[in-house]
Structure formats: C-alpha cells, structure tokens
Amino acid sequence: MSLGAHNGAAFGATLLAIGYLLLASTIARDAVWYDFVSYAPFVALATGLAAALWRAARIGPRDAYRRGFAAYAVSFAATAAGSIVWLVERYVWNLDPSYSWPNLFYAVSYVAAFVGVLSFPTDPRERSGRIRLGLDVFVALVAGTAMSWVLTTSASLSPPPDSLRFAILLAFPISNVVIGACLVPRLLSAGGGARGQSLRRLAAG
C-alpha cells in the first residue's frame, strides 16, 4: 500500500470513528449506557493499536525501532486494560474509578510509553543540530509545563486534595509534558526510509 493510500485510509478511518461518536451521541444521548457506547471505540482503538505496534515490533532487524514499538505496544495494551477496568468499576461495581485501580494500569502505560520514547533513536550528527534539538525540547518543556499548569493543574489542585489524589492529579499532566518533550526530538530528527517515516508519524500521533 502506498503512502498516499495510507493517508487516505487513516483519514477515512478517523472520519468513520468521529461519525460513529456523533451518531451514538444523537441516538443514545440520554441513555444510562451512553458512556459504554462512547467509550467502546477508544478501548477498541487502543487494543488495535497495541496489536498493530506489536506486529511492527516483530519484523525487520533487531534495532532501536523494534524496541520502541514493543514498549509502545505494552503501553497501549495497558491503556486498553485500564479502560476496561474503569468501565467494570463504574458500571458493574458502581464505584468511582477516578482514584482507583485503573490508575495503576495507566501508570504502567505511561512508564512503558516513556521507555518507548527513549528507545527510539535521535542522532543529529552536527553539534549545531544537537543544540537546536536541545532548544526545541526546552521550548516544548517550558511551554507545555506553563500551559498545563495554568489550564489544568492549578485549578484541579484548588482546594488541595488528599495526598493520593494530589499525586494522581499531578502525575497525568507531568507525564504528558515530559513524554511530549521527549517526543519532539524524535519527531524532528527521524531520518528517511520507511522506519523514519513511521517514527515521524507515530511521534505526531
């Protein structure tokens, strides 16, 4: 399948998924099981993504890309498992899952994603290229931290919650910003070739 066909298929799949969500929200907007209907595509996509990444991690030479894809597969498998536990806690056990077991799976997911990001290669050859990549990471880190603090974190920490909630509330934005900052040099320095293209696309996604 050519790159153009890939882009077309990805675009079509995104439109289909958005259409499904809009349709579900129109038909079942007041139903008790609406969350189930709206959550299902995300669990399915996380599972499908983990399977696709695992498949990509088992082909080609044993190199940094394969290690990165494998870690990412573990990360999204943990995301899917966490989402399933979240649904079970919410709808089967009637508990509030916000500060409960699903966060353990999400923690595994973030750690694996971080390992995956660090596994992918970044090797600008020139010193000036390394300096520029470092500055790009700095820009992403500072801007991401400031925006997430102002928009999400400071509001959710007021009034101060207990220590477990405090840790969980802080963990999500901090993990997002750190992983985002580590992704930037991978996105910018991925080389040519199919793996370089796929890494660029993975980092963008």
Binding site: H6, A17, D63, Y65, S128, V142, T145, R195, S198, G205
Partner: protein, 133 residues
C-alpha cells in the same frame, strides 16, 4: 503529540467544547489513535533491512515547525489570560513566554541553522552517486 494534546485538553475542559455530547478532545484522541495505527502499519509493511544503528540518514527532513506551533499556543493562552484579567496565570505565562522567545531566538541564530537539511541533501546526493559522505 496529538494524543497527548487530547489528554491535556481532556483534563483542562472535558465537556467545555462539544458537538452533541462528543467533546473536541475525544476527536483529538481518535485522530491520534488512527495516526499511530497507520504508523505501525507503515512500519510493518515497509520495514528496512538494515538496523537503525548501522544506517546512515537519507532523504531530506521536513521543515521544523513544532517550536513555532508550541510558542504560538503559549502566546494564545497568555493573551487569553491577560484579556480575562487572570493575573496569576499572566505572571506564570509571561515568564514562560520570555524563556521560550529567548530559546527560539538563540535557535534561529545558531551557526549552520540549516545544516541539518543541507547535510542530508548532500548525503542523498552521495548515495545516488554511490560514494560515502
């Protein structure tokens, strides 16, 4: 990055921006998932024969717009905070904007700012003539 943007947006204002009951940030999640699935599919279908550690780079890289996009987002949030009189946020965002602006200025003035692309093109020329760079 799209997925992470969706995650941060979800924590920021789930339900603030929605059509019917579908949040804008759900759409970012969906796009992120589909883009990553297509990346994995691409890697599976067109895998390289040579390990990454032994492979020289080839092909020009795209122009780097990520720092500019991030900086524009930061300035947009700063302007929004200033217009809405959120002084606590303005002070934090001003310091961040100052640091980001200085970093972007240094980055633009670093020697051989375009060396990345230039060297890559020479590599691809060398590859096409069969000689090592």
């Amino acid at each position: 990055l799209i997925y992470l943007a969706g995650d941060l947006g979800y924590q920021w204002g789930d339900g603030l921006f929605s059509i019917e009951k579908v949040g804008v940030f759900d759409v970012l999640y969906l796009i992120g998932y589909v883009v990553m699935i297509s990346a994995a599919q691409l890697a599976w279908q067109h895998h390289d024969a040579v390990p990454a550690e032994n492979r020289s780079r080839s092909g020009p890289r795209p122009r780097n717009v990520v720092p500019w996009v991030v900086a524009a987002g930061l300035y947009a949030v700063l302007i929004d905070a200033a217009v809405n009189g959120n002084l606590d946020a303005v002070s934090t965002l001003t310091i961040a904007a100052l640091l980001v602006t200085v970093a972007i200025l240094i980055r633009g003035r670093s020697p051989n700012a375009n060396a990345f692309v230039w060297r890559t093109r020479s590599d691809s020329n060398a590859a096409s003539c069969g000689c090592e760079p």
